[in-house]
């Protein structure tokens, strides 16, 4: 009797295991791996009409186009190396609609493979879309979807976002190129540290203004170009800062890990190149007895080396020259910083660099009062600058 039970148990367990089938099992080669997604506002008439024919339209909602970049497996197949050169390494598929998920589902009609987004690297939002629609709304699906990783980078494109996902080289995958380029942020002050979906969600929920890396496509090559400014209140794009202004932002934040500053010698006018080794900034709010913010003080300290200079008359060994150079660099940094501060305070009237954060830490009660209209309040507050550059190295040559 005991043996019979044992036998029965031994049979039932494997049978039930296999009756379940391999549910949710999907072989890797049957997946269409999405590496990038771009979102654009749809303005082309014929596309709109095409959509109208298929779906009908509810109300007068703006339409947008989603482009998914799929990696084609053939390019990765090493065993058939001869064929690979003809075929592109990626495949972009676009679909138009007025909500994200139905549009993505429609993509099934065009692609034989099941879309799989866990390897998705970037989401690029076109300028027009970001200007007209709320970012929270645009990204709602991506924030909810489990397949999308919170580590996806969010970028803004000045042009049509889908065109940044095109590459001239057929074997390159543009999504990977963009990710690799952003990795370079610790070697230059011209690239914003990557903003992931997780970081962005925090910013959106806090209602504060922030910056997103901007990417542009010029003559088929994709390059990073400045940043886009998102206003916290509306969660819409209000403008752009160019590379020079982004440099200023990096200096204010003190988060740069490397990069160069080009200062000019006063007498000869020749350039002196300062290489940043370390960078530190400190924001001090100055509040009077009535609880009014008088001013902010911005301390910037940096150490670095002279990696190149064109001033023939001077020797880097001389302390006078070093001091002179430090002054020149300080001048240049101040220029960068005030420039961008002016633009933010006057033109855009946003605060994206962390003055509010510092105020929140130092005067939490006061912050609660000003939190709602911080962007506007901030644009009225004067800022004092204190910039200190120390050159403690001049490379391997003293001449």
């Amino acid at each position: 009797m005991k043996h019979r039970w044992f036998l029965l148990g031994g049979l039932v367990i494997p049978v039930t295991l296999f009756l379940t089938g391999c549910w949710s099992s999907k072989e890797i080669e049957d997946l269409g791996i999405i590496v990038a997604t771009s979102l654009d506002l749809e303005e082309e008439e014929d596309r709109q009409e095409e959509f109208l024919e298929q779906e009908g339209r509810s109300g007068d909602r703006p339409l947008f186009t989603i482009t998914n970049q799929f990696v084609t497996s053939k390019s990765m197949n090493s065993s058939s190396g001869e064929e690979s050169s003809q075929q592109s390494a990626y495949k972009n598929i676009s679909e138009t609609g007025d909500a994200i998920l139905p549009t993505l589902r429609n993509m099934t009609l065009k692609n034989e493979k099941r879309a799989f987004a866990e390897h998705s690297k970037v989401i690029i939002i076109g300028e027009n879309l970001a200007r007209t629609m709320n970012l929270q709304q645009i990204l709602d699906f991506f924030l909810r979807e489990q397949e999308i990783r919170p580590s996806v980078l969010i970028l803004i494109s000045k042009d049509r976002a889908s065109s940044t996902l095109e590459a001239t080289e057929p074997l390159e995958i543009p999504a990977f190129q963009i990710v690799e380029m952003i990795r370079g942020h610790d070697r230059t002050t011209n690239i914003l540290p990557p903003v992931t979906l997780a970081k962005l969600e925090g910013q959106l929920n806090a209602g504060s203004s922030f910056l997103l890396q901007n990417v542009a496509s010029r003559n088929g090559t994709t390059r990073l170009e400045g940043v886009a400014v998102i206003k916290g209140k509306t969660e819409k794009l209000i403008g752009f800062l160019n590379s020079k202004e982004l440099e200023g932002i990096t200096w204010i934040k003190g988060k740069g890990k490397g990069g160069v500053v080009k200062g000019f010698d006063k007498e000869s006018g020749e350039p002196i190149i300062y290489e940043i080794m370390s960078m530190k900034s400190k924001i001090t709010p100055n509040v009077d007895g009535n609880g009014n913010i008088v001013s902010f003080k911005l301390n910037i300290e940096s150490e670095g080396r002279i990696s190149e200079h064109w001033v023939e008359t001077e020797s880097t060994f001389k302390n006078e020259f070093l001091e002179k150079s430090e002054k020149a660099i300080e001048q240049e940094v101040k220029q960068l910083v005030t420039n961008v501060m002016d633009k933010m305070q006057q033109e855009y009237q946003v605060e994206v660099v962390g003055f509010g954060k510092q105020l929140r830490i130092d005067y939490p009660k006061l912050w609660r009062k000003v939190e709602k209209d911080w962007d506007e309040i901030f644009s009225e507050i004067p800022i004092k600058y204190d910039i200190k550059i120390t050159i403690n190295d001049y490379g391997t040559s003293g001449g």
Binding site: P14, S25, V35, S73, N77, H119
Partner: protein
Amino acid sequence: MKWWKSKFKRLNHNKQQGEDLKSPQSTSEQFTEDFTIDLERLKKEIGHNWDVRFREFQLGETGIQAAIVYIEGLSDKDRIDKHILSSLMTGISEIKVPLSKEFIINHILTISDVTEENDVTGVVSKVLTGSTALIVEGIPNMLVLGTTKEKSRNIEEPVSEAVVRGPRVGFTETLSDNTALLRQQGANRNLSFLHFQVGQRAKKNLVVAYVHEVANPELVEEVIKRVKQINIDIVSESGYVEQLIEDNYLSPFPQLQNTERPDRVLGALMEGRVAILLDGTPFVLLAPVTFSMLLQSPEDYYERWLPSSLIRLLRFVAAFISLFGPAIYISFTSFHQGLIPTKLALSMMGSREGVPFPAIIEALIMEVAIEILREAGLRLPKPIGQAMGIVGGLVIGEAAVRAGIVSPIMVIVVAITAISSFAIPQYSAGISLRLLRYGAMFFAAVFGLYGVVLFFLFLCSHVVKLKSFGVPYTSPTVPYRASDWKDFFVRMPLMMMKRRPNLLRPKDPIRKD
């Protein structure tokens, strides 16, 4: 005593049977004192055998009848001629009446091993193992003279447990050689050898070895008890002993360690373990054993502790790969593609493009192929075996990929898994993991990584329950014994290992300097 409690009902059942069988043997026939009748009886018992020789002669010039019985080939003819026949035939010149057996033993026979026997079956069984029986007219009992010819092969390096550094000595098939090897290297008056005979139809000598002042007496008692319960026609190899005395015959894990190396046996004895040596096999059993011991090699103690620890850790990794390698591949490619780094996922996608099977079938094809290849390589004559191995490896590795049956990454996974299973020093542990690998693969195919974890939990719950001679199989992890961790993942310096493993509960826990 509770601690050494044996749970094995099957063995107890056998014990009772064994006692029933023994009873008729005790009423065996005695010899009469008549020379011719006794000789006839012996001839009736074994005379029909071709290899049994009867030699009748007279004692010197006395005219007293005598005969010897021996087995051709099994007994040492030289010794019989020189020390028995020549002494008996020429050494007695005058009649000493009555001719006493003491006189023959003390003055005539120049042979060391002489016993008296008056029981027919006793004499027959001794003659059958190479002794010579001597019957002399007028002397009541038979004399059994030890003339067994030593037939042993040379002591060679064990094939199954090769080490780079360490003695090149392995056990042989001769029991006395094996015990001698242990005595020689571990000269210690406390080294005890207890002798037993096992097998109902063909008796075999079995020796239980332990160090008297070290081994836990309850453990020794338990081993002896289990050995005594063995009830089987013939015990051909120590594998029979292992299977008949182990704790749980349903478990895939070996619960006794087998080894060909005297140094390993001595090391185990000094830790307080018990060894079981059987005549006719070079494989000695060690009890009790834990899983971590199966991943240790004697070489671990011969090399310095840092490299040894590293290699030991590597073996744990190898055991893990050997068990879960293909399972993890299956679960990653069919369920958790998001866990693979993007670039690797893309190349895996590319390499699996065109493979018509799901990952589980692909893995099964390769795993079964490599198991067949291994088995075939083992059976084939050595020179052909090597050639077949190369051809088979090439065919499977290269042609199967070209034909699009499997993907190149699968070949890598299978190769790493196979190599890993060879890195496990104990063959018996290696084949257990090989067996369990298929279970892991099926679980992975049905449930993905969740299934692999599930399988691992099943395995853990079994192993934690498993005991080898009262010692938990997973010690020193479960139950946790911190002092035994010194010789677990890491082999600590020898001077730090002043205590014997606690899990064996040795009589004397301190190692002598």
